[in-house]
Amino acid sequence: MSTTRTSTSVYTAINSAKTTRALLKAAGLLFIGLGVLGLLIAAFGIVGISPVVSGLGGVLILTLGGLLYIWQVRKQVPVAEQNNGAWQNSMTARGAVAWIFGLVLTGFYVLLYWYPASLQGLIQAVAPLSQWLRNRPADQWFLYGTFYTLAVLVMGVHALLKYRNSPYHLIRTCSVIFFQLGFAFLLPAFLLLLNQPEFYFSYFWPLKYDYLFPATVAYLVENGAALGVFMVFWGAVLSFIATPVLTYFYGKRWYCSWVCGCGGLAETAGDPYRHLSDKSRRAWQWEVAIIYPVLGFVMVTTLLLWVNSWSEGRLLGDFSHGFASSYGFFIGAIFSGVIGVGFYPIMGNRVWCRFGCPLAAYLGLLQKHFSRFRITTNGGLCISCGNCSTYCEMGIDVRHYAQQGQPIIRAACVGCGICAHVCPRGVLKLENGPRGERYAGTPLIARDDIKLLG
């Protein structure tokens, strides 16, 4: 008994630990502030201060401050308490801080896509890194890639600590970090260093829509010789063979929450905003009404470009290029960038993946109709609490299925596994099993056959 009985003196210990934690947290925030200041100085330029010193220095201090802060708010807090206050904190509950952050992010994307000259200071700041990695000057896309990868790395640590008791999340998070850092940042830079075409082996059509456009194919084959031919081959294999096969065995998650860079950013930097996704029936109707037409759009665009290429422009003239450039503008830039990431703090972290990504649409169709993947509901154990639905970044009303004892088989599900993680009764399990009786639920709950989509 003496072992379990704690005296009140414990509280002094807890309180002093709390004070230390608060101090370290404040120090972390201070460093973050200094880092941002450094970046601002680099961006706007102050005579006498080199943008490299202030910019790269700012990035370094920002990273250190971020890690210090993350350690305090995640590692020092038990696993079950990681979502405490998610709906009470201004930063994660669409408060003033979230709006400011959203505006800054959106603003950055607008400058990046349409006013890159305004980012000269920051581009100069990462120039030495670009020289070292790629042996060429930096441009806005290198700046973007650097920031993006850094966000995945630092917030990857955040995710690793937040979900530290779950092997699934540890492995999955390491996987997205690996693919972003290795396949989407270092390898393309290395290819440029060797004077080869820049190529992202972890992206493919229809997400990386131009990888099957005739112009890209011609460019790769002409400039990359054998390697270029391999790149075209690799892209085609991923799109048409690997995708159906891997999705059959593991569901869409093998790509969306293990490999993809957009998914990687969403699962790391976007993780604190996952509960902001809209779970209403209306949102699902919008999702279906947008994402499949986008897939159709990119398919038609690709087809038209090839028809045009084969007919050497006689058949369609400039028409197909107009199609391609409007796809690039509306879907590639505005949707995936400005809205997809800029609106993280307001609409959640998977807006692009849920409403816009043509590859997600393609993977989703395969997952729904041609896959062994499902999320099983454990018998009659669901208590309808709603944590699963709330923390579903894809806005799936997971509870709707769980409380009726049904497996969750939805085209949208990216298999992040957070629903199973936040469930307080261990009711959900991501698994791959035989397709026979895949939709059948538990015999232990009476069901209600309502149509959620309306």
């Binding site: 709390k18 092997p167 699934y168 709603g386 993680h421 261990g426 099993g433």
Partner: protein, 461 residues
Amino acid sequence: MQANQHLVIIGNGIAGFTLAQQVRRQSNCRITLISAESATHFSRPALMYVYMGHMRYQDIVPYPDWYWQENNLVSMHDRVEEVDFAAKQLQLQSGSSTAYDTLVLATGSCPAFYNWPGQEAAGVQGFVSLQDLELLEKNAKGINHAIVVGGGLIGVELAEMLHSRGIAVSMLVREELYGQNVLPRQEAQLICDHICTQGIALRLQEELAAVLPDATGRVRAVRTTRGEDIACQLVGIATGVRPNVEFLRQTALELDRGILVNAFFETNIPDVYAIGDCAQFRKPGPLSPAIEQLWYTGRMHGQALAATLTGNRRAYARGPSFNSAKFFDLEYQTYGYVPATWSDAYDSIYWQHQNQHKAIRLFYDRASSTLLGLNLIGVRYRHDLCHHWLEKQYTIHQVMQELAAANFDPEFSKTYEQELMQQYREHFPQHQLHRKSSNWWQLRKHFALFSKAASCLQNNR
């Protein structure tokens, strides 16, 4: 239920709501749910997550407004003041009245207070209803120390909630260990250890003697049965719940602690039924209490009565029981019957992790080796398969052959069935296990552990 009849359900908790939902599947009758607590059905076990900021109130509402409209379920946010059983009429607080053809009482529970001196002081409260949550927001504002009285599930929920706001919490628990009245000693010890490592001060074998208010009538301290005074600004009463039936006391309805019902949930008055926490069985089933106060049993009551009301009259049979809970980081599942203590007629195979808070217990009858129940702490098992074992009265030997299929932990988790098997071999060194497939998907198919029709109304057995 005929289309022109009016089914009125008092209470929109899980029992009342499930009943309405399941009756609607079979009948076009008028259905009205009346609740003084909330305008719509919400998940009671989720209230704690609203306080802790994991969710907002609207997130713990499982069925949105369109569901009510499309299913023509009418919800009235009003209090029933009086039931006129002779005239089949309800008198509501708003002044209006409602007639019914069939009345179902699903009024749930309220916290049980035991007439402690000073219990009326401000800052002393239970935690059952939405109003209790609102009160807690008020009572816990700016305080630094709270006392939770009682060692049940609500007690630990309250402790976790208050702890999440940085409030120091001491729990007064009557028993030698938290949960000892329902859990075997080892499990209870494990959970105690876990609660302590979260920073909760567990004061075991200590009960509330009196609440000591200050001059303004607010609690300033509690006095325990050991005669010690502990300063605090809030007292959470979690010493159990009792049926919420006071408004029915002076009527023709037969009451004991709860509303007395038979196995069809029929009260002594025709066309009046009671389900959920407020119902008390005249003849409880074997190993079942007379009043079933679990969220899950509320749902089962609703399902069973819905069948009876829609022409498929059948007695309620709970079947192998189950329950689940979470103590801070620690998940707990129990299937079947595992008592806190037992005689030589029973035995169990018990495995516990060396340094993590994980344990598995298989409880069985010594003479027949029949499995009677399972306790799982920090490990998840498949409900469908455990239910199948218990229902088919598997022996412990048969269970061990299928054990590997039962695990429901997330992918890549370490499994402990091998270690449990080691324990089994120590219990039964002579027993040879025949090799048998223990693949879940094959067992699921073989025993048909799924419901074919998405909408068939299953019986509870």
